[in-house]
């Protein structure tokens, strides 16, 4: 119990510290947030045009796709704001910077992932909220569920990033592969999972769990089915445990000293 309080303090401390340092360059910060907001908004343009030509696509309409965008952007934003370094795990391991986190008293994985905040990601959070509210009537009523699902989405993304980043423990510099894997997750999550052929759909529920980042939570917001909510929570818990397992297994290998040196 004492440990988890300590960890929570560390997370909160980093969050505060990162935010304060962002505020020191307020102009650049606001510019990045607004830039990202516009950036995300323009992505919806495609769907707006497409749904002028088609009524629905495999059961999804513009409102449904906007809900997907809302959840993905909100979760993506949360993950990058609170755990910005989770997406740089491969780089940190490969460059040898991990040693720094190992010398400190806190849990190395938690410490590593929270020690960086992406500033433009605040724009994603804002965009996610706005798009979700605008996607349909009376959306503010389901805001608590939206926030909960956004949190789960963020956890799935972070855990996935840690898993692919941890590949560096085994194969040296996995930076490019990890980046590609995370990009694939984000790309696929923005499309309704039902448009893909069945074989691809299986992949999207397992190896690249894009369904749990986009379509599954979005469907829950349209139609709250309890068994699906339980599935979503179970999957999140599972992938978080796997991520921690993979990271610590790799860490043991790292500490035993037979890692591949990639520096230089």
């Amino acid at each position: 119990m004492g440990d988890s309080i300590k960890t929570a303090r560390l997370v909160a401390g980093y969050f505060r510290h990162n935010l304060m340092s962002a505020m020191a360059y307020r102009g650049a910060f606001i510019l990045q947030v607004v830039g990202m907001l516009l950036n995300d908004l323009m992505l919806l343009f495609f769907w707006w045009i497409l749904f002028q030509r088609l009524p629905t696509l495999q059961g999804w309409d513009l409102g449904g796709v906007m809900t997907i965008y809302g959840v993905v952007a909100f979760g993506f934003g949360l993950a990058h704001v609170a755990c910005g370094n989770a997406f740089r795990v491969a780089q940190v391991i490969a460059s040898g910077d991990l040693d720094y986190y190992l010398t400190l008293p806190a849990d190395p994985l938690v410490h590593l992932i929270v020690s960086r905040m992406s500033l433009p990601a605040w724009g994603d959070i804002l965009f996610g909220l706005v798009v979700f509210i605008l996607a349909g009537p009376e959306r503010w009523l389901s805001l608590p569920l939206f926030v909960l699902l956004g949190l789960l989405t963020a956890l799935v993304m972070t855990a996935f990033a840690v898993i692919v980043g941890s590949l560096s423990f085994w194969i040296g510099n996995a930076d490019a592969i990890a980046l590609q894997a995370v990009n694939a997750l984000t790309t696929f999550s923005l499309y309704p999972v039902d448009i893909f052929p069945p074989a691809v759909r299986v992949l999207l529920y397992t190896v690249i769990p894009a369904a749990f980042v986009g379509s599954v939570p979005a469907a829950l917001l349209e139609d709250l089915r309890w068994q699906n909510l339980v599935l979503m929570i179970a999957f999140t818990a599972g992938i978080v445990l796997v991520a921690a397992g993979v990271f610590y297994r790799g860490l043991r290998r790292y500490e035993s000293g037979n890692r591949v040196t990639v520096r230089g």
């Binding site: 020191a24 307020r26 102009g27 230089g264």
Partner: protein, 332 residues
């Protein structure tokens, strides 16, 4: 016949001050506070063809600002300068064909490619014709002994190897003056010495005029006949290096790492600056005892793991110049 003439050259920077907090930002928007920095305050000197001149001073003294004005990438606030008969900031690109510039911490080599590729590119940029280039490359490879790693990607070279390539690259177009801004920064003692030897050889073989800045008095001692000391934007000494040494560089520091406990050193002109465990730092007054004598005695008496002899920091030399009653500053 001077090839660099500088008179009353001055540069003043205005910087906007950043204030903390939202209120500060707002105030800065409407009534910005501007701060004036006089980086160079009206300096004058001339340099003759074939000279080796050192421009020395602590960080922020105005060395880089001066060198930037001389190569034409910075306009002065007032004053004149002529390099090879051209006003640098007005005829920058024409001057570029006749001068070479090496900035210690700004690499011109392409990081992921072997130096040979950068050499080829520079030859095109400076319009060196191919047969001339081949001849020139052979000479430079021989002088700088870079033949072995001309085909190795730059990222795999050591800092010293890189610096040799860096200097060779800036000589491809046969410049008449070579400007070097902190060429030995970050290098270890042996490599520093190697670079100094090369620059010296270059000057003697090809007659290239050398104008270098440094904050390491060692560079000056070995390399140059003439030194200008600059501090707070003013030249406070301009004269022979031997005179500078005789009058102002009176001490050296010796850092030792021992294989046994320190038992002291008693002799005139030596005192202990710092001692912790097996590490010792001594200051030697070279007007009282030659450095060779002290080092010899230390080697005889102690088991020594590592030894370093350093010049006093620039700040100390400058303090001594200011304190000196004998020789007034010779700045213009």
């Amino acid at each position: 016949m001077p090839i660099i003439t500088v008179s009353e050259l001055a540069k003043t920077f205005w910087s906007r001050e950043k204030q903390r907090g939202l209120r500060g930002s707002l105030r800065a928007l409407f009534r910005p506070i501007r701060r004036k920095t006089e980086a160079v305050k009206g300096i004058s000197f001339t340099v003759d063809a074939g000279e080796r001149v050192a421009f020395i001073g602590p960080n922020g003294a105005g060395k880089s600002t001066t060198i930037k004005m001389l190569v034409g990438i910075l306009h002065p606030t007032s004053g004149q300068a002529e390099v090879l008969g051209k006003i640098p900031w007005k005829e920058r690109q024409r001057l570029a064909y006749e001068i070479g510039a090496v900035f210690g911490q700004k690499s011109q080599l392409w990081y992921h490619l072997p130096p040979a590729d950068t050499f080829d590119l520079l030859a095109r940029i400076y319009e060196v014709d191919p047969s001339e280039q081949r001849q020139r490359m052979d000479d430079l490879i021989e002088l700088f002994e870079i033949g072995d790693y001309l085909q190795v990607p730059v990222r795999k070279l050591s800092l010293g190897e890189r610096m040799r390539c860096e200097i060779a690259a800036s000589l491809l177009h046969r410049p008449r003056i070579l400007f070097l801004d902190e060429p030995t920064i970050g290098l270890d003692v042996v490599v520093k010495q190697r670079i100094r030897d090369l620059i010296l050889e270059l000057n003697q073989q090809e007659g290239v005029t050398i104008f270098l800045t440094s904050h390491d008095a060692g560079d000056v001692e070995v390399l140059c006949k003439r030194a200008m000391v600059i501090n707070n934007g003013e030249v406070i000494y301009d004269g022979r290096v031997s005179t500078l040494k005789r009058d102002y560089i009176h001490s050296k520091t010796v850092s030792l790492k021992l294989g046994q406990p320190w038992q002291g050193y008693d002799g005139p002109g030596v005192h202990t600056l710092k001692q912790r465990g097996y590490g010792v730092k001594l200051q030697v007054d070279t007007t009282i005892v030659p450095i060779e004598v002290v080092v010899g005695q230390l080697l005889a008496r102690y088991e020594i793991v590592d030894i370093n002899v350093d010049n006093p920091p620039m700040e100390e030399i400058i303090a001594r110049i200011y304190a000196s009653p004998r020789e007034p500053p010779q700045a213009g």
